[in-house]
């Protein structure tokens, strides 16, 4: 195994008097896809937001390449691609403009490459249609087009399969495999039956309410 990219040590998160998880240890290793599973309300999204640094209501340590994550913030963010429930697509802008705004702050990407990425997610001919005129699945595809031109090695994807048709699901699964094969790592939460070869799992179980730390 190569050394872990992201490591969680003794992670604990409590929300509204309920412990979502505690004593959680895991490593995200390059070349793997990790699925976060658990019933509704088990804290899958919360865990992903914690890993991305959006939520800091937790105790425990996060290590980026073996070093404390807080001291590596900028380097970490440069290598992170996070897609949330709401993936940051502005309804008034076109897919091309959205993609440009999202990538231009990370690295210069040519319009040509962005168009190819949109083609790759099946959005040919929609370059200049405001996103609010697209269907939910198409909007999701605009967000996923980012993955096609991403060079960030760590992907945190919250329910990326939502609103995708069968074709889209297959495409995304292949994308995840390719990403892992090229040395990247992806952490995915999903309700969709995802079973990729070599996939790691983090299982969260809803712990009984009423327990609290001593």
């Amino acid at each position: 195994m190569s050394s872990p990219m992201l490591q969680a040590v003794d992670l604990q998160c409590e929300r509204d008097d309920r412990i979502l998880f505690r004593g959680l240890d895991f490593s995200i290793v390059p070349g793997t896809v990790t699925r976060v599973e658990g019933p509704n309300g088990a804290g899958k999204t919360t865990l992903l937001r914690i890993l991305a640094g959006l939520n800091d209501h937790f105790s425990g340590e996060l290590l980026w390449l073996g070093e404390r994550w807080q001291s590596q913030r900028e380097a970490f963010l440069r290598n992170l691609l996070y897609l949330g429930h709401r993936p940051g697509i502005k309804p008034l802008l076109t897919p091309l403009e959205n993609l440009r705004a999202l990538t231009a702050v990370r690295r210069p990407v040519s319009d040509q490459a962005m168009k190819q990425a949109l083609d790759g997610t099946g959005l040919q001919g929609y370059y200049d249609v405001p996103c609010r005129n697209l269907s939910a699945g198409q909007q999701r595809r605009v967000a996923l087009a980012r993955l096609l031109i991403a060079d960030e090695p760590l992907w945190l994807l919250d329910e990326p399969f939502t609103a995708l048709d069968r074709h889209g699901v297959a495409g995304l699964e292949q994308l995840l495999l390719d990403h892992a094969a090229s040395g990247g790592a992806a952490v995915v939460t999903t309700h969709h039956e995802l079973d990729l070869p070599g996939m790691a799992r983090i299982t969260l179980g809803a712990s009984p309410a009423g327990e609290a730390p001593s």
């Binding site: 440069r78 996070y82 231009a104 990370r106």
Partner: protein, 240 residues
């Protein structure tokens, strides 16, 4: 095919903060211009509030001349307040805000860029409309000029302080009302000096010192407010 053990290819490329800020400004301006109604709303509100005063208090020239600058300032303040709710709300709803927080550039500078874009589409048009309203309120030419100058220095302060309130109340129910409660007390110095300067100008007192003081407010707001707003944004996002 999963047996390969390649090393991690880390991203080392960096995008400068200035160009990231420019991207933010451009995206926000573009979004705003696609929704022109939103652009017009604060302006119309500004106009209507001003109209209420001659109707509700008195259309006498002497009253309007005396109170005109105050009326315009109060109306501009309220119009800014009205528009603040939008500053982060749309971005919060569609996830753009999360993406912004996760950009490698310092968040407070990105917040500054967002606030600048907000001011360009709300504060600046108010200043352009103010002379027309000044004439309707029988203000003298000199007073109108000074008024516009105070608005030019003052409205960015309103936007900057407002950004803190907007960030703090993000995602809360009844956030709009709470926002006014949090922000209005902080607006008072700007209001006092804005109207006071115009009053001084009408009396023939030199106003350079007052304008310099307002400029000092602006500098203070530019240096401190984005930090507070950025901290507030992180807190609000952590909570969602």
């Amino acid at each position: 095919m999963t047996a390969r053990q390649p090393g991690v290819a880390l991203v080392t490329a960096q995008v400068g903060t200035a160009s990231a800020m420019w991207t933010v400004v451009r995206r926000d301006l573009k979004s705003s211009f696609r929704q022109r109604q939103d652009l017009l709303n604060p302006l119309l509100f500004f106009f209507m509030v001003v109209t209420l005063f001659p109707l509700g208090v008195s259309p006498e020239v002497s009253f309007l001349q005396r109170s005109g600058s105050g009326i315009l300032w109060v109306a501009a303040l309220l119009a800014t307040l009205l528009s603040l709710d939008h500053l982060f709300r749309h971005d919060f709803d569609d996830g753009t805000l999360e993406q912004m927080v996760l950009q490698p550039q310092p968040l407070f500078l990105l917040v500054l860029a967002k606030t600048l874009a907000h001011w360009l589409v709300t504060g600046l048009p108010l200043i352009l409309l103010a002379p027309v309203l000044g004439i309707m309120l029988h203000l003298e030419g000199n007073s109108i000029a000074v008024l516009c100058l105070t608005l030019l220095i003052g409205t960015p302060v309103l936007s900057l302080i407002g950004a803190i309130g907007a960030a703090l109340t993000l995602g809360l129910r009844a956030g709009g009302v709470l926002l006014s409660l949090l922000i209005i007390p902080l607006y008072i110095p700007v209001l006092i000096f804005g109207t006071g300067t115009v009053a001084a100008a009408a009396d023939g007192t030199p106003v350079g010192g007052y304008l310099a003081l307002m400029a000092a407010f602006l500098v203070l707001a530019i240096t401190l407010a984005p930090f507070a707003a950025a901290a507030a944004l992180r807190i609000s996002l952590s909570n969602s």
